[in-house]
Symmetry: C2
Subunit: 202 residues, 2 copies
Amino acid sequence: MMILRYAPASPFVRKVRIAASILGLADRIELVTSNTADQQDPVRQDNPLGKIPTLVLENGMRLYDSPVIMAYLDSLAGGGKIIPAGEMRFKALTLEALADGMLDALILQVYEVRYRSEERREPSWVQHQADKVSRSLAALEDDPPALVDGLPNVGCIALACALGYQDLRFEAKWRPGHPRLVGWLDRFAKAVPAFEETRFKG
Amino acid sequence: MMILRYAPASPFVRKVRIAASILGLADRIELVTSNTADQQDPVRQDNPLGKIPTLVLENGMRLYDSPVIMAYLDSLAGGGKIIPAGEMRFKALTLEALADGMLDALILQVYEVRYRSEERREPSWVQHQADKVSRSLAALEDDPPALVDGLPNVGCIALACALGYQDLRFEAKWRPGHPRLVGWLDRFAKAVPAFEETRFKG
């Protein structure tokens, strides 16, 4: 068994769990809860950054971050499954980077509250992060990614997780202004049961 | 010509410039300075996150973030050049993610000063980021990556840029405690002239 260091609410872990599910690899991966705030948590041995997801292979090799794990799972499943071949590859990978970048900007907003007392928060920094998300949502609403039949690619998986994270932590405020993306996420959820199965209900 | 939206001091851009140089692609890429703090900068059209490096291809396609651009340049050069095949691939990609994660943690420390007045800084947050870097340096000092003959892989390129960034912005404080990594960086710099050529001298 591989070990996935994980937390149930992590959107980056969710990417990996969805990928494992649709690639038929979920039963080869044991989920082990990690508390990244705990200095004694074994994740810091496996990944000096102390971040999840971190995947421990049977041979002891450690893989991170989430795009690397996604690429590994794709190769384990034979390749070309969730990372398309040819030029579509870089389109999918760039969409993944866009969605991951949205997540980074969202998480920095969450951390601003979680790690700082009110007088140490910086509204212009929070706005700077929020603007990254707004611009990304606007660009994606303008031109939602194709959801073709067959397996979704890593970009679509990451985008679904980035939208789902805003449902979880930002009161779904993205929805009213982005009807095409709302429809896109509905179609994604219908095509990929693992999306709902991995939704954090805490 | 491709266009690389860039800034001379960006360590993530430096990765791409080194890759382009060693892959013989530098003369196909025009460097265009980007001010990511300027709302009117065209980088925000090319990449809604407003981040550099962003690569604009001749067909108009936009690629980011730096690991995606590195993979694209490798494929453009025929593949298997700076991203090895087989299991070494994921070792190299994970090292790249480690070095990129160190850079993220370093840049958050720089931004803490740049974007906040003194009373809005949070020492425990800065320490949390600094600890990620310390643990990563300790793990790498324990077991420095192999520098084999031939082209360095994306992981080694990223690590060199992460160490170089600490020379630039953190007064080279990493050096005294990490003699093996200092020796590693010396060997890297000797083997890869583009490392010195892309050093920011501002």
